[in-house]
């Protein structure tokens, strides 16, 4: 396994965004989160107000856009969200800490494993709990598989919307393999609840290693196929290049993170710049593209898939040497005792009963933990009173921020490009609305 040594990086100077840069910029409204039209223009016959969504196959879930059209070009836009609001944050306040683990996955149902990871890491930070090495490496592996899964769904659906139907079948073929891997490890294809507070729910099954190895060896070929299908496809290039441009300053001011930020030329990745799990021991590159258009967002995700495959490979090599090691912390106040001990040990039975009925208590305090999810910075803010239930749970949703940038991106584009742009921002509505 290649472990990166001391990576040296050139000092970078970040652009500091000033108010002045937004005065009289290309966005007519005071803030670029909605494109507003003057009243007299709206009243005239030139402008047509169209309701787009909330149920439309190309809106990636239930997103509603109110679009003002002057002919084919978009002159006004405001996004309406909230159709998928399910009150996760309120629900989690009513559940004990260990029951809460099921909720975050369902918030962002495409990058589910990363959400679960963020929540579990936040609780472990409050508890100051040590997690075994094997669990940490497995978490990194599954998070990267989840990233691949998410990017494959992005690529398949975005291409489908622009008419490249075959991409959808190819992407979902590999997605199926990833879901099979998840099923093999966790028993569930999605929403696995495999990460527990303290480690993993179960040991990694022996059959996982060869299957995952097969996947790692196949995935680069699949990526070559995708590139061959798309990257010299004249229609795809025409539809994506120079469309939906988001400048670096705009991206930072609008709180963009993840692939959307890196496609705008900002070299920022939490896995490298604020490492968590074992990412500081893993060798990987961070793809950055400068143009900030739909094409660059696609390229960033394509390159990220290649890097993710490399990360999975490195994690797998490490995990193969960690066979037989513990996968969950041995802290009986937090972690359920092994099933077989319940028949022989009174102490274990008591611990089991206490954790299942009352739940364990987490010390008072507040933490914010951020990880790099497929969509960008996935943050989890927790407040604990010292009791068995969280006082406040809040998820910082990267999709929420990504949709704010829609109005900036679609300024002076055609309505057909709107589909391409919304798809390229890769917002998941469950994540946006929570």
């Amino acid at each position: 396994m290649s472990v990166a040594g001391e990576r040296t990086r050139a000092a970078r100077v970040w652009p500091v965004v000033h108010d002045a840069q937004y005065e009289g910029s290309r966005i007519p409204s005071p803030i670029p989160t909605a494109l507003q039209l003057p009243e007299e223009l709206l009243e005239s016959d030139d402008v047509l107000r169209v309701n787009f969504g909330p149920n439309h196959p190309s809106t990636h879930g239930v997103l509603r856009l109110i679009v003002d059209l002057d002919g084919e070009s978009v002159v006004g836009l405001s996004a309406v969200i909230g159709y998928l609001h399910t009150g996760f944050e309120k629900s989690m306040e009513q559940k004990t800490w260990w029951k809460c683990v099921t909720y975050p996955e369902r918030i962002d149902y495409v990058g589910f494993q990363n959400n679960e990871l963020t929540f579990v890491l936040a609780v472990e930070k409050l508890l100051a709990l040590e997690v075994p090495e094997k669990a940490t490496w497995m978490r990194a592996l599954l998070s990267e598989l989840s990233r691949l899964h998410s990017h494959l769904v992005y690529l398949g659906t975005s291409a489908l919307e622009l008419g490249a139907i075959s991409m959808f079948w190819y992407c979902f073929r590999e997605r199926e393999t990833i879901l099979d891997l998840f099923e093999m490890v966790t028993g569930q294809r999605m929403h696995t609840r495999y990460f527990q507070i303290g480690g993993l729910a179960e040991d990694i099954p022996e059959g996982f290693y060869p299957e995952c190895r097969k996947f790692v060896e196949w995935m680069p070929h699949a990526l070559d196929d995708y590139l061959a299908l798309l990257d010299r496809n004249a229609i795809w290039l025409e539809r994506t290049k120079g469309v939906g441009v988001l400048s670096a300053n705009d991206a930072i001011a609008l709180g963009q993170t993840g692939p959307n930020l890196r496609a705008s030329g900002v070299d920022w990745d939490l896995r490298r710049d604020q490492p968590y799990l074992t990412y500081d021991q893993i060798d990987f590159q961070v793809p950055v593209y400068a143009n900030g258009d739909v094409y660059d967002r696609y390229r960033v995700r394509m390159d990220e898939m290649r890097e993710s495959t490399r990360i999975v490979d490195q994690c797998l090599r490490r995990l193969e040497r960690l066979r037989g090691r513990p996968w969950i912390a041995d802290d009986r106040k937090v972690v359920l005792p092994p099933r077989e001990e319940l028949h022989t040990s009174m102490e274990s039975l008591i611990h089991h009963f206490k954790i299942v009925t009352e739940g364990f208590r987490v010390p008072e305090g507040e933490v914010y933990v951020a990880t790099e999810s497929p969509r960008g910075e996935q943050g989890c803010y927790l407040v604990s009173e010292g009791g068995p239930k969280p006082w406040r749970v809040h998820f910082r949703a990267p999709s929420f921020a990504a949709l704010e940038a829609t109005a900036t991106c679609v300024h002076e584009t055609l309505v057909a490009d709107l589909i391409a742009i919304v798809g390229s921002l890769d917002a998941v509505m469950g994540d946006t609305d929570r």
Partner: protein
């Protein structure tokens, strides 16, 4: 410039490896601008309000489950081992800022408000605050002064109440039974 020089600085606290800087609510916009321009926190990551109504009033029993802080010789302590620290006002609003440099730096600006108290909007400092403030207004009922469009974002426009408040009923959906008609 340090956190102490931010306009409206009240206190600086370090916990769980995170820095929390409390700011007077009326000066939060000035403090944000100073944090962005003088301290280099280019990005506003998140705005989150917390309702502390009823904080620390529940007695609970059981283990204090921490890797370091529990005492296994005294399980089942009635009530909390230590009572939660008291909060100055009902709501806290936390602004999570990120400085994208090496090493990465994060800070949490925090201000305390009572119900109905106005907080200056930071939309003019970070445009991304637009939706974040609308969300906190919608779900928690925090009023931001100077926000260009403080309308509900997540819930319906005609929704009553703010669901994430602690006094908002759970399962409070009125059900009409057939006998009542």
């Amino acid at each position: 410039m340090t956190y102490r020089d931010l306009p409206g600085f009240v206190e600086e606290k370090e916990a769980f490896g995170e820095t929390t800087v409390t700011i007077e609510p009326a000066r939060i916009r000035d403090a944000s601008e100073a944090a962005r321009d003088a301290l280099g926190f280019q990005m506003l990551v998140d705005i989150v309000a917390t309702d502390y109504l009823g904080w620390g009033s529940q007695g609970v029993s059981g283990y204090i489950a921490t890797a370091t802080g529990r005492d296994i010789n005294f399980p089942s302590t009635q009530g909390l081992q230590t009572l939660p620290s008291l909060k100055p006002k009902r709501f806290s609003i936390a602004y999570h800022l990120l400085a994208m440099r090496q090493p990465a730096e994060r800070v949490r600006l925090k201000c305390w408000v009572d119900d109905g108290e106005l907080v200056p909007s930071v939309v003019s400092v970070w445009p991304t605050a637009d939706w974040h403030e609308r969300e906190q207004f919608d779900l928690m009922g925090i009023r931001f002064e100077g926000h260009p469009n403080l309308a509900r974002l997540i819930m319906d426009d005609d929704w009553e109440g703010h669901p994430l408040r602690k006094d908002y009923p759970i399962g409070g959906e009125p059900v009409r039974f057939s006998e009542a008609q």
